[in-house]
Symmetry: C2
Subunit: 300 residues, 2 copies
DNA sequence: CAGCGCCTGTGAGTTAAAATCACAGTATGA
DNA sequence: TCATACTGTGATTTTAACTCACAGGCGCTG
């Protein structure tokens, strides 16, 4: 059995904190700013902490408030998603997707429940492989590979560009702001063994090839480093926009927007004969829609 | 911006669904059963679905209700956890933990925010390595390895037994129940390349060495297979109790409780000289507490 | 400097939601 | 059959959410 804060106040807090504005939250929620002010005050008194710093009739999220937001926002998102999925079911068929392991892990699987809930009757089979498409020994409806590629007999389309940028948690950034690449010297840089030269390459392009970070932390897997970044342990050099979700959730941020180190784009690749299949095109369309940052269409 | 169901009704739904009893929920929430009945009815009308099947003044969670519960329960848990952690802060110091990559990924990192929120001023450094402790070239406060081991000059204690059992999502189990190992023939078995013989070994010990599953799905990484199991794609043979969280959350369940295939237990290993350090002992105690399924103690 | 626009804060009052109470209906077990 | 345990519901009460109107603070502009 759990103890919950006043949930209505929490809902309003999430909006006010996200927008860092009581009046904007009031507009979004179709209530008065006075109601927002009171609910926030009620929540602060209930919790016994200041969630916002107030200066001259303006609010700014406090450290405590930010930390709380990050966590409760995930919870509220889960509730909202569960609710919207319950309100819009749908039906299709079996689909075999062959993806590179990295893409499957970092981008596709976290979104797979989204596809599944939008198309609950599609039986999806995800096979991972790094092999060239021509050398796959299992059939697939759709393959996902980095392009450009030589894929005769197939239709291919790029749907997700990839590039690398430093990523860290917003809380870390508040403690030690990063306005230029040289500021990274005050931070822990998170390294993944699978990308040993990524940081050096980026720092060189950023004009600080000899930069000494405050400390380093090494992981043998990139996903661990990414998780550590989200936990505020340091700055990771991550593939964009694969970390887009975490950025959108405020768990990560990009302190510096350049230099952008481009990497090859991801393409979906489907046999020509399969392109008219509604399930295949639904999945491809869904991939594109997700990559474009749009929401899943409500009906196929 | 999200659309939320009536949140108070949702809170009450979670309790009623978990307990599958309106009066038990009323008792837990210190309200009348009538209030529970009305809130459930209100939520059902708002969603337009039946969350409970009612027979002769008794309620049983409907399929829809169960699916909704699983998802919103996660959301509500996050909110409750965030709230309780905000209500009990504390302070310590820097800690270097050296863990095997598998353990770090599947057990430690998912819990690390828990430790961090309980001890927000401990600066934790997680280094992953499979090397023997005697051959590590970086210092550590605590190492985590499978025991038993030869660790002179160190104090070691096992805190987490490991064994293997089939794991799948409860929804999958409802569609095709698994009462005996032979029933797995109707399911998709999820394989991870890192544990190629795990299923064969288990099925042999279960007395069905020649079992043919309905289908198979292969992942190059175990964590992908585990995620797929949670998404209802099939049955994975997973390390217990590393999957305990997901089981506790209702995202996974163990359809069969035997045969239990034991694997070596995890131990924390600390230099003798460090054992009196309050941060070290706090972390070790936290490990043990987590492994024992208890909640984090409120104060160090 | 004054005026304006935009923002948050708050007491009094209104409205809506939550909860209680008492009665009712159903299933199960003795 | 009766007793018990459970959920359902209308009328009423209680509580929370919200509005409204006024107030104060900050930044910008003339």
């Amino acid at each position: 059995m759990n103890t919950y804060p006043p949930l209505n106040a929490l809902r309003i807090f999430e909006a006010a904190a996200r927008l860092e504005s009581f009046s904007a939250a009031a507009n979004e929620l179709f209530i008065t700013h006075g109601a927002v002010s009171k609910q926030i005050k009620q929540l602060e008194e209930w919790l016994g902490v200041k969630l916002f710093d107030r200066t001259g009739g303006r609010v700014k999220l406090s450290d405590t408030g930010w930390r709380y937001l990050i966590q409760v926002q995930d919870g509220l998102d889960l509730i909202a998603n569960a609710t919207s999925q319950l309100l819009q079911p749908d039906r299709l068929r079996r689909l075999t997707v062959n993806s590179t392991p990295t893409f499957a892990r970092h981008w596709l699987l976290p979104r797979l429940t989204q596809f599944r809930d939008a198309y609950p009757d599609v039986e999806l089979h995800l096979v991972t492989s790094d092999r060239d498409i021509g050398r796959l020994d299992t059939p697939f409806d759709i393959a996902i590979r980095r392009g450009p590629g030589d894929w005769p007999g197939h239709i291919a389309k790029p749907f997700l560009e990839e590039w690398e940028l430093p990523l860290c948690s917003p809380a870390l950034l508040e403690r030690a702001p990063v306005a230029s690449p040289a500021d990274l010297a005050r931070h822990t840089l998170l390294y993944a063994d699978t990308r040993p030269t990524a940081w050096q390459r980026w720092l060189t392009l950023a004009g600080v090839p000899d930069l000494k970070p405050a400390s380093t932390l090494h992981f043998d897997r990139f996903s661990l480093a990414l998780e550590a970044a989200m936990d505020g342990l340091g700055v990771v050099l991550g593939p964009m926009p694969m970390a887009q979700d975490e950025i959108a959730r405020g768990r990560l941020t990009t302190p510096l927007s350049s230099p952008i180190v481009p990497v090859r784009a991801y393409c979906w690749v489907a046999p020509r004969t399969a392109v008219d299949d509604p399930t295949v095109s639904a999945f491809c369309h869904w991939l594109e829609t997700c990559a474009a940052g749009l929401s899943v269409p409500p009906t196929a």
